[in-house]
């Protein structure tokens, strides 16, 4: 069932069954994302729990300016950030940066990549998840995180650089053992 219909059904009845349909259609994706963000099962469960309670409180006011999934991700990310209280990076992308990240992840496996992502600082991890895994544009990420597009770009730059370094080290370690 499409999102608008699921939400409409829920708001009409407020029934447990209508909520569960909504919950089960969205949660597996969000939980996977929460696991990547927090790298911790317990924290991820807490995030998902709090996210849904906030979402249901506000659902009647949701105006469909974005997809439901994006709105939920926004709540999830904000909860995650408020828990983490991490200082936001605000480095603008410069031309010189372009030359720094030249290594490739080509030789890594999905498993290596997952490990690499988990090794990133939380802010970088967040951007990689939103941009490279979820496919959001910098404008959308900026809206979601309440940052500028420039900040989103610069964070992605550093995140990819760190990830490539990690994977490159990992690959060369693997080769040296051969």
């Amino acid at each position: 069932m499409e999102d608008q219909k699921l939400v409409h059904e829920f708001l009409k009845s407020r029934s447990e069954s209508a909520f569960l349909e909504l919950y089960r259609s969205k949660t597996p994706h969000l939980y996977r994302m929460a696991l990547r963000l927090t790298q911790d099962e317990y924290q991820s469960e807490e995030l998902i729990q709090e996210m849904w309670v906030i979402a249901i409180r506000k659902l009647a006011d949701f105006e469909w300016r974005s997809e439901l999934k994006t709105w939920l991700i926004g709540i999830l990310i904000n909860l995650s950030r408020s828990k983490r209280k991490e200082k936001e990076l605000s480095i603008e992308v410069t031309a010189e940066m372009a030359q720094e990240a030249s290594m490739e992840m080509s030789f890594a496996s999905a498993h290596d990549l997952e490990n690499g992502i988990s090794d990133l600082p939380p802010g970088y991890r967040q951007i990689i998840i939103l941009h490279d895994i979820e496919g959001y544009k910098h404008k959308e990420i900026a809206d979601l995180l309440d940052i500028t597009e420039g900040t989103s770009k610069s964070q992605l730059f550093y995140a990819r650089k760190a990830l490539r370094e990690y994977l490159s080290e990992d690959t060369s370690k693997g080769k040296s053992h051969e």
């Binding site: 447990e16 597996p28 939980y31 996977r32 729990q49 309670v53 030249s102 080509s106 990549l113 490279d132």
Partner: protein, 197 residues
């Protein structure tokens, strides 16, 4: 390559990452509890839940009838008393009795029969709940402190509560109960609701 773009190999790598993972079941339960506490959702009985619940109840009935535990149905661990509330003015108790004539059949077949009976009852709009009873009883009699074992001639092995429109409807439900087929008896008793109490 530029940091602005992922290479094709990198894109494939990202695409290969797991996209979904179902959270543990207790997360769902915790959320439902919190939403119910805040009055943000109303508890409902879904057919899906009900089917699981009747399976659980059917299994518990068999537990004391056939003396066999049917693990499959208890896996959901549902609290049957939380599932259904009976409106007292429409309430009827169906007491299951058995004596020496009671001859339970194949547990699997009985399980399916009880399950179907409860599902059919629910489907026709008659709410139904029940409770497992242990295979032990103590009889307290006036004027003595002696404890007697349960009367072997008429053991009460379980009960159902139904919310029916009339005594006739409650009797119709009771007649279809598989307990009778296996030699047991079902006693139908309407709730007594006193005005102003």
């Amino acid at each position: 390559m530029s940091e602005e773009h992922l290479s094709e190999a990198e894109k494939k790598l990202f695409q290969a990452l797991e996209k979904e993972k179902a959270p543990p079941k207790h997360v769902e339960k915790n959320i439902l509890t919190q939403l119910e506490q805040e009055d943000l959702i109303k508890k409902t009985i879904t057919m899906n839940n009900y089917v699981k619940w009747v399976a659980s109840l059917a299994a518990s009935i068999l537990l004391f009838m056939g003396g066999m535990y049917y693990e499959r149905a208890n896996s959901e661990n549902l609290n049957i008393n939380e599932m259904v509330e009976i409106e007292p003015t429409k309430g009827y108790m169906l007491l299951l009795h058995e004596d020496a004539n009671f001859a339970p059949g194949d547990p699997m077949a009985m399980f399916e029969e009880y399950k179907s009976w409860m599902e059919n009852t629910f489907s026709r709009g008659v709410k139904i709940t029940g409770q497992e009873l242990k295979q032990e009883a103590t009889l307290i009699k006036s004027g003595t402190e002696e404890v007697f074992p349960e009367d072997a001639e008429k053991k009460t092995t379980g009960y159902f509560l139904v919310e029916a429109g009339s005594m006739e409807e409650a009797i119709a439900v009771a007649k279809e109960n598989p307990h009778v087929k296996y030699g047991g008896s079902v006693e139908v008793k309407p709730f007594m609701v006193r005005e102003g109490m």
